[in-house]
């Protein structure tokens, strides 16, 4: 046995914390009041005593019609906001009928090829009432504009739309892998989106700067918040360089983190992240509006900690993870389904995941007081230690020239992969216990029949695309795509010609290909 325990970030955890831990601790400086700078205790004064977080379950698979049915069920079951999962061809800017899409259509999310599919996806869901989060990055502009077009058909103005696009391409280069264009061009597209939404969709969260996927790829909590906030700084600098005022776009920045089963360190992580961001925004970027300084975030429970063995045990893991997110002050939460290490969730598993949140919200007492861990010896010590570790890593990124330069040097990815390999070795040699996998195993696992996506969906989707290409005014589409290319070559906002092309029923793939023609694609430095 080693004498000092280590957290997931590798920081020491003492067996006992006592008065010494808070020597010199000034709550005015370190915490502030809830809803006040530096927001350590939460971004709102009343937090969940006023109303609980938004229970936002990520869902979508197969066709737009099937996903639409799942959304109606989720809304009926009491979910507060929709969260759309797109299939990989959509996420990579390909149409369902392209060769690279074969076998992937409708698999990990819904296939959306055109504004027609988007209309079907939201059939019967009033877009002025429902808030929608879309996990879409490289082609975020395309999907957002399709959404706006469908809303307009419903008679809902852009100014009334609420929701989020993930739109965080930098983390795609580091962890998630669904990038299209090179970093500089991606950043230009993102600042076009910021500018467009400031005018057209002022209540929309234009980006969800994500540590989640880095954590899933292996990042420690300290790496997760450091690399996320370093990416965030890059976005802020880009937008300022494009001529935007920091307080015009920063209030619409939102964040996305993981919640692991290591409850205490996770709570400390969320608190530290809020404090670091508030200081960066006020001190480095001179944001005046308190909303620009607030780190508002979505949380998803850690998929990578779920096991395919004895999958029901995952229900317990998810409950602990969700509790950590709530104690850490999340604004919205997705709890994973217990069968997600095996396949896409079945309907029953998805419902249980939502029920888990409802138990935390309505049966426990953790919502009745704000930031219940404030002032705890261990919690304030861990928050300080994580803040310090993360600041050091942010400096390491900045010393390499900022997030993009560090990405091009492979810095964040190799740091994360080292952490991932260490965890794999610890599981292998038994230093780290995973219940049901390397300890407390069953001789024989019970069989489990996962949800399957019908392969017919791919054929149907291709047929719909063929019909669309037949019916629409192809000359007008071609001219609109030419206009988009011309704008991409210059410095105008590409959102305007893109919207026109999509309105004329250009497909998502056609729009992305037009931009590929001008901007090229990203080829990573791939070492291991």
């Amino acid at each position: 046995m080693s004498s000092v325990a280590r957290s997931e970030s590798g920081l020491p955890i003492q067996a006992v914390y006592d008065g010494w831990a808070l020597a010199g601790f000034d709550p005015e400086v370190k915490l502030g009041a809830p809803g006040r700078y530096p927001f350590t205790r939460g971004v709102y004064p009343s937090m969940y005593t006023g109303r609980p977080w938004t229970m936002r379950q990520y869902a979508g698979f197969g066709t737009a019609k099937e996903s639409n049915e799942r959304y109606h069920e989720l809304v009926g079951a009491g979910t507060g906001g929709l969260s759309v999962a797109f299939d990989l061809p959509t996420q990579m800017g390909y149409d369902s009928d392209e060769a690279v899409a074969r076998g992937e259509v409708g698999k990990v999310g819904v296939a959306i090829d055109s504004v027609d599919d988007m209309r079907t996806l939201f059939q019967g869901l009033p877009l002025d009432k429902v808030s929608t989060s879309m996990t879409i990055n490289a082609p975020a502009s395309t999907l957002l504009l399709m959404y706006q077009l469908v809303a307009a058909e419903q008679g809902v103005a852009g100014s009334r739309l609420t929701g989020t696009i993930q739109n965080d391409v930098l983390k795609e280069y580091i962890a998630r892998g669904t990038y299209i264009y090179p970093p500089q061009q991606s950043l230009r597209l993102i600042s076009d989106i910021f500018a467009y939404c400031h005018k057209e969709m002022p209540r929309w969260n234009t980006i969800s700067i994500s540590g989640y996927h880095m954590a899933e790829a292996g990042a420690t909590p300290a790496q997760e918040i450091a690399f996320t906030l370093a990416n965030a700084k890059e976005y802020v600098r880009t937008a300022i360089a494009a001529g935007l005022d920091v307080d015009d776009f920063a209030p619409r920045l939102s964040f996305f983190f993981v919640a692991r089963t290591t409850l205490l360190e996770e709570i400390a992580k969320f608190r530290a992240a809020r404090r670091i961001w508030a200081r960066i925004m006020r001190e480095e970027f001179h944001a005046r509006n308190p909303k620009s300084q607030m780190l508002r975030f979505h949380t998803q429970t850690a998929g990578v900690q779920l096991t395919a063995q004895q999958p029901e045990v995952n229900l317990v893991r998810v409950a602990l993870q969700g509790l950590g997110a709530v104690l850490g002050g999340t604004q919205s939460l997705h709890t994973n389904s217990y069968d997600e290490a095996i396949a896409l969730p079945t309907q029953k598993a998805a419902r249980l995941a939502l029920r888990t949140q409802q138990v935390i919200a309505y049966e426990t007492d953790v919502t009745r007081t704000v930031d219940p861990f404030a002032g705890s010896y261990v919690m304030e010590s861990m928050t300080d230690a994580l803040e310090e570790a993360a600041l050091e890593l942010i400096r390491a990124v900045e010393d390499r020239g900022g997030a993009v330069a560090a990405i091009e040097q492979g810095f964040q990815k190799s740091e994360i992969e080292r952490s991932a390999y260490r965890v794999a070795l610890e599981i292998d040699n038994g230093e780290r216990t995973v219940v049901g996998v390397n300890k407390y195993t069953l001789d024989e696992e019970e069989p489990y029949e996962p949800l399957r996506v019908d392969p017919q969906i791919e054929i149907d989707q291709c047929e719909r695309l063929a019909a669309l290409r037949e019916e629409r005014d192809n000359g007008a589409v071609r001219r609109a795509l030419d206009e988009l290319r011309a704008t991409a070559q210059g410095s105008g906002n590409v959102m305007v010609p893109m919207r026109e092309a999509l309105r004329l029923r250009a497909t998502g793939g056609e729009v992305s290909h037009a931009l590929r023609d001008v901007w090229g694609t990203y080829v990573p430095l791939d070492a291991f």
């Binding site: 992937e104 990990v108 292996g218 063995q309 396949a343 991932a420 390999y421 791939d526 291991f528």
Partner: protein
């Protein structure tokens, strides 16, 4: 050997961990990078002239992709390449993959030591009929 990440999915934590473990076990490992088509993967196998290919697939497209890779390997006289598949593979599909000629399938929770031992066995006794692992 070649470790490949076919399809559009970008989650390569598993592929990279396996590549490192095999490298640490003394093998020369070529990692293809993300978003590889079956054609690209098979040409890597042929260009590198390796006896073993490992593919990591998490997106649910494992049957479509593997079928295509096996066909291409056969077409290009590389049908004797050992193919391993790892990823989120439902139990019922393990048999389907083996019927396509896959030597072993590894699902979540598979231990690194076991994967390395399977590779050792495949490469040392290429003629022996194997007890497939999953």
């Amino acid at each position: 050997m070649v470790v490949a990440k076919p399809g559009l999915d970008g989650h390569d934590r598993g592929a990279k961990v396996i590549a490192r473990a095999l490298r640490d076990a003394g093998y020369e490992v070529v990692y293809t990078g993300l978003h590889q088509t079956p054609e690209q993967i098979v040409s890597s196998v042929i260009a590198e002239d390796v006896p073993l290919l490992g593919m990591s697939i998490l997106s649910g497209a494992h049957l479509t992709i593997t079928r295509r890779v096996m066909d291409l390997l056969r077409e290009q006289d590389a049908g004797n390449t050992f193919v391993l598949v790892g990823g989120i593979i439902p139990e019922a599909d393990v048999a389907a993959l083996k019927a396509l000629g896959v030597a072993a399938v590894f699902t979540p929770g598979a231990d690194l030591g076991g994967i390395v031992r399977t590779v050792d066995r495949l490469l040392t006794s290429a003629d022996t009929v194997l007890e497939p692992t999953c």
